[in-house]
Amino acid sequence: MKEELKVNDKDIVVPGETIATGMSFLPGPGTYRYESNIVAQKLGMVSVDGKVIKLITLSGKYDPKVKDRVIGRVVDVLMTGWRFDINCPYSAVLNMKDAVSEFIPRGADLTQYFNISDYAIGMITNVTSQKLVDIATKGPGLRKLRGGRIISVSPKKVPRIIGKEGSMVTLIKEKTGCDIVVGQNGLVWISGEPHQEVVAVNTIKTIEQQAHLSGLTERVSEMLANGGSQ
């Protein structure tokens, strides 16, 4: 059997499509070996890293991971904490002791800290095999969100919105003067001048649409220079 790549780097492949033949290639995330071939297991973009073949997924739900910074919405007030919707198949629990730095006395009304439909930036502290998720809202950069607007984007496109070491989101922040927090779960909080918020929203939506294309930074800075239109 000839050992070769059947597709180019950065090509889109569909489940069941053979990416490479021969045992010298290794299956990475999103691929599997069938006989001596490497076959795609998802709809995604091929990324060849030496002999390892990976797939970058372009769609799908958020998969909670420890130490991720996410934006959540309170859906329930419990006896000892709060339940958050973190835009994924499983809800997250915020315990009283991880919520605020001040002391919460026994029998206190928990709604004065977080009430239903409040938004907060949280850090995922634990995920069990049964996907019971714990979060904390106490720590650097973690807080309750007040004002601004929340938009939702595909969680798989979040790395593109943040950019290399935050370059893309910093660019939008500088050009629009908005405060922006991008949660790993695909929720984005934007707060600033109303018309600048709109510019930021449009820019982020464009990045989401074109996440799989290269030369994005140039197009985004061009777009921001035109006041948010392409």
Binding site: I12, P15, T18, G30, V39, G60
Partner: protein, 234 residues
């Protein structure tokens, strides 16, 4: 009796014209449309998401739930009774069984993936068109699948083996309809049903024909899934 020419003028091994589109229902997590001749299927995927009722939850894996529905005006002039019936319940079950083997939902314990398949117009071969649409919609939703599912009906009309039967052939008094779902890369079969009678030789011919046609369907699905990303390019 001999069947010399097909009712709609196709060759005996020729499918109806196929059209596939992906991402047509923006609010869904994944969606697709598949059309074979006058049969049109729309599939929308939601999830993985929280599963209720709770007794259906499986702590070791997520589950797949398929909903099949023919719209009231979708038939041949007679109104199709809305809502689920004995027929649609069976089709939901066989489609679920046809799609489950390609899906890996181990990462989603207690969750569910819902697939809704609707037919605005039908001309036989709905479970096959539905499966083709559903497997594209599941891939569009970013789920882990070892392959797509390609479904096609083979069969017999009088003395001829035919592929992709339309309603006239399907309801012909001397015939046989065999809907199949095939995984194109391995040739595994995940759905095989038969309505009517067929000889052993003709059955083996029909299965071979369906296997070859599955690859054509896979190409149509592949192009549709990739098109979603090439269209954005400017």
């Amino acid at each position: 009796m001999t069947y010399t020419k097909r009712f709609d003028g196709r060759k005996f091994d020729e499918t109806r014209p196929m059209i596939a589109k992906v991402g047509i229902i923006p609010r869904a997590d994944g969606s697709a449309m598949f059309q074979a001749g006058d049969t049109i299927a729309y599939a929308a995927v939601y999830g993985p998401r929280d599963l209720h009722p709770k007794f259906m939850q499986n702590p070791s894996t997520g589950i797949l739930r398929v909903h099949y529905n023919m719209m009231p005006f979708s038939g041949h002039g007679d109104r199709v009774r809305p809502g689920g019936g004995r027929r649609s319940k069976e089709i939901c079950m066989v489609m679920q069984n046809a799609l489950t083997p390609v899906l890996d939902l181990k990462d989603y314990p207690n969750a569910v993936v819902d697939v809704f398949i609707e037919f605005p117009q039908t001309d036989a071969g709905t479970r096959c068109a539905g499966l083709n649409a559903a497997s594209m919609a599941l891939a569009d939703a970013g789920l882990t699948m070892k392959d797509l599912v390609c479904a096609i009906a083979a069969g017999r009309v009088e003395d001829k083996v035919v592929i992709d039967l339309n309603y006239l052939e399907d309801s012909h008094e001397d015939g046989c309809d065999i809907p199949m779902a095939i995984l194109p890369s391995t040739g595994e079969v995940t759905l095989l049903q038969m309505d009517g009678e067929i000889s052993a030789e003709m059955l083996s011919d029909a299965l071979k024909l369906a296997n070859n046609t599955a690859k054509q369907i896979y190409d149509v699905q592949k192009v549709a899934l990739k098109e979603k990303f090439t269209q954005v390019k400017k």
